[in-house]
C-alpha cells in the first residue's frame, strides 16, 4: 500500500504493563536503544487492564497501530493477568481480521523488564509494519478527520 501523504507520520499507541514491559521500555531508554518517536506508551498496571475498548478507541481516534506489551506468560506480576489478556486479545484480533481490517495493525508482544533490546526491536519492527500498511483509512473516524 502506498503512502499518499509524504508527511504522514503514523500514530502508534503502545500499552505497556507497569512491571515488565514499561520497565523494559525504560531499559531500552537507559541503553539508548532507539525506536521511532511515533510510538507513545501508555502505562497500565497489567496487560489484563487493557480493555479491547481502548484499542478500538485508539483506532477510532485515528491511531494507525496499537501494540500491547506485557510480562511473558507465566511471569505476570499478578500471576494470571497476561493469560487473560492473551485470550482477550486473540479474540479481538480475530474479530478485527474477520471484519477485514488489515492484519498487523494490532500486535501483542511479551517483553520482560530485562528485555530492553527486545522492546526496541519490537517497536522498530512494528513501526515498519505500520509504515508499510500506510495510513489507517479503514478504521479512521470520519468525523475526526474532517
Amino acid at each position: 500500500m502506498s503512502v499518499s501523504n509524504p508527511n504522514w507520520k503514523p500514530k502508534i499507541v503502545a500499552f505497556c504493563c507497569n512491571w515488565c514491559s514499561y520497565a523494559g521500555a525504560d531499559l531500552a531508554g537507559s541503553g539508548r536503544m532507539a525506536y521511532p518517536a511515533d510510538v507513545k506508551i501508555i502505562r497500565v498496571p497489567c496487560s489484563c487492564r487493557v480493555n479491547p475498548l481502548f484499542i478500538l478507541r485508539a483506532f477510532e481516534r485515528g491511531a494507525d497501530g496499537v501494540i500491547m506489551c506485557g510480562c511473558h506468560p507465566g511471569d505476570c506480576h499478578y500471576t494470571s493477568g497476561n493469560y487473560f489478556a492473551r485470550r482477550r486479545m486473540t479474540m479481538l484480533f480475530s474479530m478485527l481480521d474477520y471484519l477485514g481490517i488489515e492484519r498487523g495493525r494490532t500486535r501483542v508482544e511479551w517483553v520482560s523488564a530485562a528485555e530492553g533490546a527486545k522492546f526496541s526491536k519490537t517497536m522498530n519492527e512494528f513501526v515498519k509494519t505500520i509504515y508499510d500498511l500506510g495510513e489507517n483509512r479503514k478504521l479512521g473516524d470520519l468525523r475526526c478527520k474532517k
Partner: protein, 663 residues
C-alpha cells in the same frame, strides 16, 4: 476544570539535550486545564521540588504533571513533594520524557514533539484523576516461616530476636534441612553439623519460635499483615510432649524396611525413628507405611518399651489455624533425579552416585560411618570420577535438565575431591567440568588448593557415557584442552547433580499467589532492588527457594528477609495501595464474572439495597476488599457494564490518554 501545573525537567542535558524543554513548557500553556507551566534543570532536586511546591500554593493547583524521568524513578518523590505542599499525592502524573523520549531519540525536533504529546497525555489523564486516600490495615505481629532448613532457621532466629513470634512449619520430622545432611562445608571445611546444630537448638529454645514439624501449610487466605494459614500437623503417633528421644523404641522396632531418607535412602531405618541424632525436635515418629501395628494391628512393641508412654497409635492429624502478618518462603531444594540422563548410568549402577549421596557416605553418621566405601560391594574406591553440571546449564529445548547453573556444584566437588585426596591419598580423583565457577570469598583459592595442593585431575570436557565393565565403570569423555577422547576406569562416579526447588514449592506458590519462574523458583519483586520480597505483598523469600545459593549466601539472604519481615511487623498499621478496583453498585449486574478472574479472591458479592437516580432496589453486587486487591485490573475488563473500574487507572483516564496521543 481543574487547575493543572506542568513542570518540565531538563535532567541536566539528559532531557534538555534532545528535547527543547523550553518549547515543551511553552506548548503546555495552551493545553486545556493547564494554568502554569515551568521548566528547571533538576526537578527532583530540593530547589526543583520547592519550585513545584511554590507553584502549587501560588496557583492553587489541583494537580501537577512532571515531565521528567520514568515514574519508576521519581513518581514517589514528586508525590511526596505534592503531599507536603497540601496536594493529594495521587494528583500527580509523570510524563516519561527521558527513558521513553530523550534517551531514544536523536532528532531534537522529533524528541520535542513527542515530549509535548507525552506531557499533553499526562495532563489529559490528570484531568480525570481523583484524589485517592490510602487505607490502612492492622498487622498481625507474627511471622510464618515455611521450611526449617538453615534459611528458615536463620530467618526465624533473626525475627524472634527482634521480639516477634515466629512459627516454623517443616514438612519433615525435624528441622535442619539439607545442611544437616552435609558432612563438611566449603571453603572452610568445617563440620556442617557443628555449625548447624547449635542454631537448631537455639531455635528450639527460643521462646518466640514455635517449631511445627512434620507439618504442611494447607491453605493461606488474607493479605499482607493479615494472613490466615491452615497448617496440617501430621500424626507422628508419638506424643511430642512426652517423648524423651531416648531411641530405645528404634532398636526394638521389628520393622526395619523403611528407607532412611536422611541418608539418601542408602540404608534402612526402623518404622519408628528419629531422623538423626541431633534432630529437633528430638522426638520419634512412626512411619505409618512401615509400622506393623498401624498396618496390621499386631505388634505394639514400641509402646511396650517406651517408658515415657509417648506412643499413641490413635493420634490424628491436627489442623492448626493461625494468623500471621508476614510469610517467609524457605522451602529449599532437592537434587534432581539424574536417572533420565541415561548416559551417566545412574539408574543402573549402584556406584554411580550423586554428590549428596557421597556427602552421606563420607559422614561419620552416614551409612558407612564415614568410611568411603562404594555402595555396590562396600570396597574402597581407588579411582573416582566426578562429573560436573549434571542436569544444570542444559539447553532449554532439549528438556533434559535445568537451564540454570546450580551454583554450588563446582565448590562442593572441589571440597569432595580435596577431602578424599586428603583422607585417602591412594585414590585418584578426576573431575570432568565445563567451567569451574568460583566467584566467592576464598572460593578460587579453595579450588586451586584442590588442583595444586591435592593434585585433583580436572579435565575440561563432557562425559559421553558411563558404562559398567566388569567391576569398573568406564567413563568416556572428551578432554577439550588436550583435544582428545579420554576413558577412565573408575570405581566410583559422582554426579554433581543440579538442584531444583523442593516439589512442594509450586503448590505453596499457588497458595500464596506468589509468582514463580518457569523452574519453580520464587520470583523476587525486583531482581536487584527487592531481592528478598515476593511481588505479592507480605511474602518474603529466603534461601534456595528463590534461586540456587550456597550456605553463606543463604544465611545472608535469610537475615535480609528477616529484616524485611521485622520492618513489616514493626508497623502497627499498613498503608494500602489506593489504586485498587472498585465497583459502582448502580452499574453492577452481580454476574460474578469479575470474581473469576481475580487472582487474589478480593471480590465478594452481597445483596444490598442500591439507591440512585430513580433506583431503589435490592441487588446482588460485587464488592472489592481494598486491602486484598492488588490493582491488576483484570476484573475491569471482564465487567461488561463498566461497573468495575480501577482507581488511578480508570477507564476514563486511559481513554483520555488514548485520545491525547491520537490527537
Amino acid at each position: 476544570m481543574q487547575k493543572i501545573g506542568v513542570f518540565v525537567c531538563w535532567c541536566g542535558s539528559n532531557i534538555a539535550g534532545t528535547v527543547d524543554v523550553e518549547a515543551v513548557s511553552e506548548a503546555m500553556k495552551s493545553v486545556p486545564g493547564v494554568v502554569y507551566s515551568a521548566n528547571y534543570q533538576y526537578m527532583c532536586s530540593a530547589a526543583g521540588q520547592k519550585l513545584i511546591a511554590d507553584a502549587i500554593h501560588e496557583h492553587h493547583l489541583d494537580g501537577i504533571v512532571v515531565a521528567s524521568c520514568s515514574p519508576r524513578m521519581h513518581e514517589n518523590t514528586f508525590r511526596k513533594t505534592a503531599e507536603a505542599a497540601g496536594l493529594n499525592p495521587y494528583m500527580v502524573e509523570i510524563a516519561n520524557i527521558r527513558e521513553q523520549c530523550s534517551w531514544i531519540h536523536k532528532d531534537k525536533e522529533e524528541g520535542t514533539a513527542k515530549a509535548i504529546v507525552l506531557a499533553r497525555t499526562a495532563v489529559a489523564k490528570l484531568l480525570h484523576n481523583k484524589p485517592l486516600q490510602a487505607g490502612t490495615s492492622a498487622v498481625t505481629k507474627r511471622a510464618l516461616v515455611i521450611g526449617g532448613g538453615i534459611a528458615g532457621i536463620q530467618t526465624a532466629l533473626d525475627v524472634a530476636d527482634a521480639g516477634y513470634e515466629v512459627d516454623i512449619v517443616e514438612q519433615r520430622p525435624t528441622i535442619g534441612g539439607r545442611m544437616a545432611q552435609l558432612d563438611k562445608t566449603f571453603p572452610t571445611l568445617d563440620c556442617s553439623a557443628c555449625i548447624l546444630t547449635p542454631k537448631m537448638v537455639e531455635a528450639s529454645q527460643n521462646e518466640k519460635i514455635n517449631i511445627i514439624s512434620y507439618a504442611k501449610v494447607e491453605k493461606v487466605d488474607g493479605f499482607v499483615g493479615n494472613f490466615k494459614a491452615t497448617i496440617r500437623k501430621k500424626a507422628r503417633f508419638v506424643d511430642e510432649t512426652k517423648c524423651t528421644g531416648c531411641s530405645l523404641c528404634m532398636s526394638k522396632c521389628p520393622s526395619k524396611k523403611g528407607k532412611d531418607e536422611f541418608n539418601m535412602e542408602m540404608n534402612n531405618r526402623p518404622a519408628i525413628y528419629i531422623p538423626f541424632a541431633q534432630a529437633i525436635p528430638n522426638v520419634a515418629v512412626i512411619d505409618p507405611e512401615q509400622c506393623l501395628k498401624l498396618k496390621t494391628g499386631k505388634c505394639g512393641l514400641c509402646e511396650k518399651v517406651c517408658t515415657a508412654g509417648a506412643i499413641n497409635y490413635k493420634q490424628q492429624d491436627e489442623l492448626i489455624e493461625r494468623e500471621y502478618g508476614a510469610i517467609v518462603v524457605a522451602t529449599g531444594f532437592k537434587p534432581i533425579d539424574p536417572s533420565p540422563l541415561n548416559e551417566y548410568g545412574y539408574a543402573d549402577n549402584a556406584d554411580v552416585i550423586t554428590s549428596l549421596e557421597l556427602e552421606r557416605l563420607m559422614n561419620a553418621a552416614g551409612p558407612t560411618k564415614g568410611t568411603l566405601l562404594r555402595p555396590s560391594d562396600l570396597q574402597h574406591p581407588h579411582e573416582i570420577v566426578f562429573i560436573q553440571c549434571v542436569g544444570s546449564r542444559c539447553d532449554e529445548n532439549t528438556k533434559r535438565g535445568k537451564p540454570y547453573c546450580s551454583k554450588i556444584c563446582c565448590m562442593y566437588t572441589a571440597k569432595h575431591a580435596m577431602l578424599i585426596r586428603d583422607k585417602y591419598p591412594d585414590t585418584k580423583v578426576h573431575v570432568f567440568y565445563i567451567d569451574v565457577r568460583t566467584p566467592g570469598k576464598n572460593f578460587d583459592e579453595f579450588y586451586r588448593r584442590a588442583v595444586e595442593q591435592y593434585g585433583v585431575d580436572y579435565i575440561k570436557g563432557m562425559v559421553g557415557k558411563v558404562a559398567k565393565e566388569g567391576d569398573k565403570l568406564m567413563v568416556r569423555g572428551s578432554d577439550l584442552i588436550n583435544n582428545q577422547q579420554v576413558e577412565i576406569a573408575a570405581d566410583l562416579v559422582v554426579l554433581a547433580t543440579a538442584i531444583e526447588p523442593d516439589p512442594t514449592a509450586r503448590s505453596i506458590g499457588t497458595m500464596l499467589t506468589a509468582s514463580m519462574d518457569t523452574n519453580d523458583f520464587f520470583t523476587e519483586a525486583h531482581a536487584k532492588l527487592r531481592p528478598v520480597e515476593s511481588p505479592t505483598a507480605g511474602i518474603f523469600l529466603s534461601g534456595v527457594a528463590q534461586g540456587p545459593k550456597d550456605v553463606p549466601e543463604t544465611v545472608a539472604q535469610a537475615s535480609a528477609a528477616a529484616a524485611k519481615v521485622i520492618g513489616l511487623l514493626a508497623k502497627d498499621h499498613l498503608v494500602t495501595n489506593p489504586c485498587v478496583a472498585y465497583s459502582n453498585e448502580l452499574l453492577c449486574n452481580g454476574c460474578s464474572q469479575c470474581e473469576k478472574v481475580c487472582p487474589y479472591g478480593a471480590i465478594t458479592y452481597i445483596e444490598k439495597e442500591v439507591r440512585g437516580p430513580g433506583v431503589r432496589e435490592v441487588r446482588r453486587i460485587a464488592q472489592v476488599n481494598p486491602a486484598v486487591c492488588q490493582g491488576c485490573g483484570a476484573c475491569t475488563v471482564t465487567c461488561p457494564s463498566g461497573a468495575m473500574d480501577l482507581k488511578g487507572f480508570a477507564n476514563k483516564q486511559i481513554m483520555a490518554e488514548v485520545d491525547a496521543i491520537c490527537l
